[in-house]
Symmetry: C2
Subunit: 338 residues, 2 copies
Amino acid sequence: MMKAIGFKQSLPIEESNSFIAFETEKPKPDGFDLLVKIAAISVNPVDYKIRANAAIDVVLDTPKIIGWDAAGTVEAVGSKASKFKVGDQVYYAGDITRSGSNAEYQLIDERIVGHKPKNLSLAESAALPLTTLTAYESLFDRIKINPEKDKGKTILIIAGAGGVGSIAIQIAKKMANLKVIATASRPDSIQWCKDLGADYVINHYNLKAELEKIGHSEVNYILDFVDLKGYWETAAEIIKPQGHIVTITGSADPLHLNLLKEKSVSFSYEFMYTRSMFTTDDMEEQHKILNEIAELMDRGTLKPTLTTTLEGFTVENLKKAHQMQESGKTIGKTVILF
Amino acid sequence: MMKAIGFKQSLPIEESNSFIAFETEKPKPDGFDLLVKIAAISVNPVDYKIRANAAIDVVLDTPKIIGWDAAGTVEAVGSKASKFKVGDQVYYAGDITRSGSNAEYQLIDERIVGHKPKNLSLAESAALPLTTLTAYESLFDRIKINPEKDKGKTILIIAGAGGVGSIAIQIAKKMANLKVIATASRPDSIQWCKDLGADYVINHYNLKAELEKIGHSEVNYILDFVDLKGYWETAAEIIKPQGHIVTITGSADPLHLNLLKEKSVSFSYEFMYTRSMFTTDDMEEQHKILNEIAELMDRGTLKPTLTTTLEGFTVENLKKAHQMQESGKTIGKTVILF
């Protein structure tokens, strides 16, 4: 048996049953799966969005286990697994169609698992996978940036100090060779973005005027990590001809695509779960990306994004981590260390 | 002086003044401009769309000269022009913000001009530029296809037998190494697509079922050359995870972008005029593309798309060419030979 934390109903985080601890069967690995003993997890906005929507007006029979970011140790491997052996330290984001990482043990397909960065702590490692894969895929799989050809082009990262923004600034700067303009509005979040390597930090209110102030009235690329609908018209206005807009958010309402026409602009959704959800031919890219990032972390080219560590895998800490995410004001990443 | 054909009012093509012939000053080249003596022009859907919208409820003082596809001979060069000399045979699409090719002479920035394919006639050459640039940019500048890495991926070309479809099938097959599925619905247009190298030709009605019939229920890429709005939901359904949709049409109404989210799909507008309209840093790419295409035409790797030649630069022939475009049923390209 193992301990897990989940929910049977979508409830406000303040309510006592918004999360419950329970005992459940420890799973066994088969096929490409690894069984990982989890040592640390992190929380992302997707967590509270799913918690708030997965069980509205119903009570689930068994609690739903969410959470997609973990670091830990391989305890057993499936028959087809060949990339890892028992005892290996790993880190991964996971698969939204399967049970999450808010548990002592988890099954995970090795094709989306990376070797943990050697020089980083388990907590620092658990903070990385989901945001790193999101930022990397946005730049290299969606926009398809060529670091030599596109060197020096400009990218606007909306919400630079948040979890994904914190690693996106670094990957855009250090791996994609771009000039990075991040948005942030408080003194501590502005400083955080600068420390991570942003060339400019501007306020997200009145983006157009802010960009003009720094002499970049238009940008080649935009990463929206906050609100596609809210930024749509501004994005269409400040994007350069042949530019590319990537979003991880979305819009419940339809949007005017024609705003992109005259400038031949491209637009992509980045959803980190796509590869595992559809078992795409190139699913193993996530394994490679996580290994590449681990190397760059070990060399010090990239810096950890962890800012807050909560000690102990408890309902209280998980609630606290969700509350922090829901505030929308966290800087960097929050981790729960088991 | 020179002869030109233009319009002062947006009128149905049947009306006597829908086009008028007139005499106007022969222009002089400066800067990067070439003065080209035009020998052949072709007509594209953009022509009748502009004719129908540029002068509604007004009468222009001087007739508007449209047309963006020509082949001819350089008669004079501007002070900064260095790629061409007097007497060179050239072909080009042009710049939507300037006077068009429905004239005996035209000024054109050399950075968007190519050397005419040596083994093709002037009429065959005039048929190519606008559609070729559109198809090439769609595949290599918007989707950013890598012919080695993406070899064998599938592309659906909606309206395969039309002007841009006819060259897109060939570029997708011969230059991008893709498996090409084109849509066409009449026996002659189906045969035309097959002759150009399409691996499959399917009917555009009930696309999903047609794709299933040929064993490709989903495709990696879609080029929409007909109606973005009409195909939007179907496109979102039949596109593969991480796929890419390119359109040259558009939608007056807003569209649900969220349909692309789960599959991390990308979307681009391709507007051949973007580079010249905004004088982008890479504007000269169009010069390079046209030269590359000329070589492939000369080697026989690509085939001309010309199907109809109207002899004589007359109002009657221009009206006829517009009428054919407006029917939406033309196969390949229509050219007017001066």
